[in-house]
């Protein structure tokens, strides 16, 4: 579905230096696969996501969807950002319809589609509300509907639950799994949370910074459907531990044994 072949992206910083955000990243993502990207800040996760979205072009290498090179934003991708960034003047329904309006693809079935999505994320009856009447978690659900309204094959999520409180975040993680099982999509999900990365993914792509590259790809064989109980299993802990090692190294952090 998505194919990245030795993708490199270099940014020119303001003081003239060149920063390598991504170096030689190669990744094959299958149809309806759930991939999470995890890694410390500055490892190029968001850059990778934006390359797949067609918002940024690679400096070198090739990124393609279904064999076609990504040279501009494509209709088969939908994006969810860290902040819901809903339009404050528009109702929930109009916010969901917004991408269709911008694409001039709005028709008589659009409202039904949007209503079905709102029902899917548990916001039935909220379509006429204004975004500021909703909580952070509800706003992010609207943002997910907005990303799905044009029925994309690929859902790109850039730390979508990063701005939510810890409890809402756990709730939304399970919600997303439920939505994904009802509407299977290829998902590329950027996160800072190791727990989130493991519980969601078919494969976790662990990235390391300066320059951003893939450290390891970990298969998560945990059975689906997953629940909060999944996090108690041995395999979950092994995978989490492996990711922690990759990100933090084998540092011992404890009393009297801080940085060597």
């Amino acid at each position: 579905m998505i194919s990245l072949n030795r993708v490199t992206r270099i940014f020119n910083s303001r003081d003239g230096d060149q920063v390598t955000a991504l170096q030689d990243v190669s990744l094959e993502i299958g149809r309806n696969e759930f991939i999470t990207l995890v890694g410390p800040s500055g490892c190029g996760k968001s850059t990778l996501l934006r390359i797949v979205a067609g918002l940024i072009l690679p400096t070198a290498g090739r990124a393609s969807i279904g064999g076609e090179e990504i040279t501009e934003p494509r209709a088969e991708t939908g994006i969810v950002f860290q902040a819901p960034t809903l339009l404050p003047w528009a109702s929930v329904l109009d916010n969901v319809l917004f991408p269709l309006r911008m694409m001039h693809r709005i028709d008589s079935t659009s409202t039904d589609k949007a209503m079905a999505l709102l029902k899917l994320v548990g916001l039935k009856g909220f379509e006429g509300k204004s975004p500021r009447e909703l909580s952070g978690g509800m706003q992010q659900r609207v943002a997910i509907c907005r990303a799905l309204v044009h029925d994309p094959d690929i859902l790109l999520m850039d730390e979508p639950f990063g701005a939510l409180d810890a409890l809402t975040r756990e709730e939304m993680t399970m919600e997303l799994l439920r939505i994904w099982s009802e509407r299977p999509k290829t998902v590329l999900f950027v996160t800072h949370s190791i727990t989130e990365a493991v519980v969601l993914a078919d494969r976790v792509v662990v990235m390391s910074p300066r320059p951003g590259r893939i450290a390891e790809i970990i298969d998560i064989g945990l059975p689906r459907p997953r629940s909060f109980e999944t996090e108690a299993s041995t395999e979950f802990h092994e995978a989490s531990q492996r990711i922690r090692q990759l990100i933090f190294g084998t540092r011992h952090v404890g009393p009297g044994r801080a940085a060597a």
Partner: protein, 276 residues
Amino acid sequence: MSVQAAPPLDERQKPPRRRKKSAALYEVVVPIFATIGLFVLWEGACRLFKIPAYLVPSPADIWKDTMAIGPTVAGHTLATFKTVMLGFVVSILISLPLAVILTASPAIAAAVYPFLVWTQSIPKVALAPILVVLLGTNELPRIVITVLVAFFPLVISIATGLLSVPPELIELSRACRASKLSELLRIRLPYAIPFIFAGLKVAISLAVVGAVVAEFVNADSGLGFLIQTSTAFFKVPVAFGALIILSVMGVVLFQIVVVAERVFFPWSSSNTTPGA
């Protein structure tokens, strides 16, 4: 170890509701009583200390003398009002496209911005007589002065508003392959509404100032003209009357902008700024 499902938190996280009715009552009743109290104090002080009317007239004197030439004062008020409104409307017509151009291209912004600052650094009172020579003794120089005084804060606030859009929304617009025009009309301009109204509030107040400045230099009518001529003939109560009408005009026009924002754009965040 099993983890229980977190209860839905949505109810708890609801943002606070809008202001209650009693607060609105305070907003209206307290200022009215404060104003009445001030006038009573003024009247009392004038009578108690026998202050001559050619220095500080009492509210009663002001009312009597101003009403005595009521139709004339009304004519002057209308003339000033016309200048203020024309200046205000022209300011909006200039500021909106200017702000759009300034934010669209860094090169144009770099070229135009020094001139904008330059127009602001010129003292308008000094410019007024020159404009009269240039444009003739008619309405035009007065409107130009009013615009010069009022438009700058409007351009700055609209430009700030157009740039305040979250970058994610711009990315979303690009991801939808929307044109720059629909990005402007559907995202940037609506996002700028609170900023535009903040600018309009400043601009309408400054338009009153600008109109009076222009009338001081060149006019045969208007409240500024009335103040000048009546002080020249020591009709101080009339000058005070004109002054009060001017301030009332400023407050009323300001409040009209505030109400327009609340009615047409109830979601606008500048509704919560002080004074609004």
